[in-house]
């Protein structure tokens, strides 16, 4: 039974983006979002409709790239042109 329950969660209960925003303070969690605007080393990141600023000091993304954001900084560009619920 436990295994079936776990499998259910595994398949159906991926974290939603809103949950991720709540958990944003977690130190090692990083959230993917799409770069929609760049202004010097600041980027506007679109997380499924919610926008937030992030520094692009340590990567050089282009508009349209998906990036992984940790503690206010984009830390890497996602290699595939896709975004998941989490990374």
């Amino acid at each position: 039974m436990i295994v079936i329950t776990s499998l259910y969660f595994l398949i159906h209960k991926k974290p939603t983006f809103n949950n991720l925003l709540i958990e944003y303070k977690i130190m090692c969690l990083a959230i993917p979002g799409k770069v929609i605007k760049i202004d010097d080393d600041n980027a506007t990141i679109d997380y499924n409709g919610i926008t937030k600023q992030a520094k692009i000091t340590i990567i050089s993304p282009k508009i349209g790239d998906y990036v992984l954001v940790h503690a206010g900084f984009a830390i890497e560009i996602l290699k595939k042109d896709r975004k998941d619920d989490t990374i």
């Binding site: 595994l10 944003y24 977690i26 130190m27 969690l29 340590i58 990567i59 503690a71 206010g72 990374i87």
Partner: protein, 350 residues
């Protein structure tokens, strides 16, 4: 209802290989965010009996020594505003946590980033940022120091701690799930000297299961390699720009890990030209005669972060030590093994 056959296939293959290995296997997930995924999705319940997952030291609040917390508390009590990441507030110091200092009237702020800390500094010019975290988080501190932030530096590096765990005779770890976002910064190379099977893993439950399978395949064929199962983010070189930023501000030093002790070359300190931002130096006089650190009797956080025991084996777990009243640091952070085990304790899977 669609059935995720890929996941089922991975689980079947794990069972086959585990049977073939035919002995107890202990795998350490180094990163607290992996611990969360494992508990949240009940991954332990999907594994064969001879495969054990244990948590590791990749929880910044768990390994930050009491003296560091005591220093921040002392500064706060002397009117110097302290900013830090949220999880740090509840971590018990020798006499009190930063949260208690805040309740007693000291200025202690939670920030989500060093960007926010710098903004606070415009209002509180003598603000000090208590900087914790591993390679993923260090570049953000480096950037802020460059922009004028004063810090108490408690940054640490992961591969050196993994080396200590590998050489710990009390605890035979058969393989590591390596932290994904630390690896995004440092790449794959720094792990190559660690004498154990390792797989760099992402944070989806399927990523963790696949990485466990890859580890078991290594163990079953006596290989000790560093494999990358998080290629959409991690490459061999890591993020060179981030590392250059870090090394322009910090240099390597020996560092104390709470519960583990001093680990050679496992910490970072400010380079000479940035030492004017080192709050420990700046307020040296205030920090004299700090209380002698002592961990609470019976707390087995040290054994938990070394993978020697699971949280439930600690005699204080959920009886005396709870998230509302933590005895040790492992019951505090969102990435802390005991707190995660407490949260999912009813599911028998943490």
């Amino acid at each position: 209802m669609p059935v995720d056959t890929d996941t089922e296939n991975i689980i079947s293959e794990i069972k086959e290989i585990a049977e073939d290995i035919n002995r107890p296997v202990k795998i350490m997930e180094v990163c607290g965010t992996h611990t969360q995924t494992i508990a949240k999705y009940g991954i332990k319940t999907l594994l064969p009996e001879n495969i054990q997952l244990v948590s590791g030291p990749g929880c910044p609040v768990c390994v930050t020594p009491q003296r560091t917390i005591d220093s921040a508390v002392r500064l706060a009590q002397n009117g110097i505003p302290i900013a830090t990441y949220g999880d740090m507030l509840k971590v018990p110091g020798t006499e009190m946590s930063l949260e208690v200092a805040k309740e007693n009237g000291s200025k202690v702020f939670i920030v989500e980033s060093t960007i926010d800390a710098l903004k606070l500094k415009t209002e509180y010019p003598n603000l000090v940022f208590l900087a914790i975290g591993f390679e993923t988080t260090t570049p953000m501190t480096a950037w802020a120091v460059k922009n004028g932030l004063d810090i108490i530096c408690a940054h640490k590096t992961i591969p050196e701690a993994m080396n200590v765990i590998v050489s710990n005779q009390d605890n035979q770890i058969d393989g590591f799930l390596n932290p994904g976002h630390v690896s995004a910064i440092i790449g794959t190379r720094p792990y190559r000297d660690i004498n154990a099977p390792q797989v760099i893993a992402g944070f989806e439950p399927e990523d963790v299961l696949k990485s466990i399978l890859m580890l078991l395949k290594q163990i079953n064929t006596d290989r000790k390699e560093v494999e990358n199962n998080y290629t959409k983010i991690v490459n061999d070189d890591g993020n060179k720009k981030a590392r250059a930023l870090t090394s322009s501000i910090f240099e390597t030093c020996d560092s104390e890990w709470r519960g583990i002790g001093i680990i050679k070359d496992s910490g970072l300190k400010l380079k000479k030209q940035y030492q004017n931002h080192d709050a420990m130096e700046k307020y040296r006089e205030l920090l004299k005669d700090l209380p002698e650190p002592k961990d609470n009797k019976g707390c087995r956080c040290a054994d938990v972060i070394m993978g020697v025991i699971e949280p439930k084996k600690c005699p204080l777990f959920s009886k005396v030590c709870t998230p509302d009243n933590p005895t040790g640091p492992c019951m505090v952070g969102t990435e802390s093994a005991c707190k995660i085990a407490y949260k999912y304790r009813g599911d028998d899977n943490a």
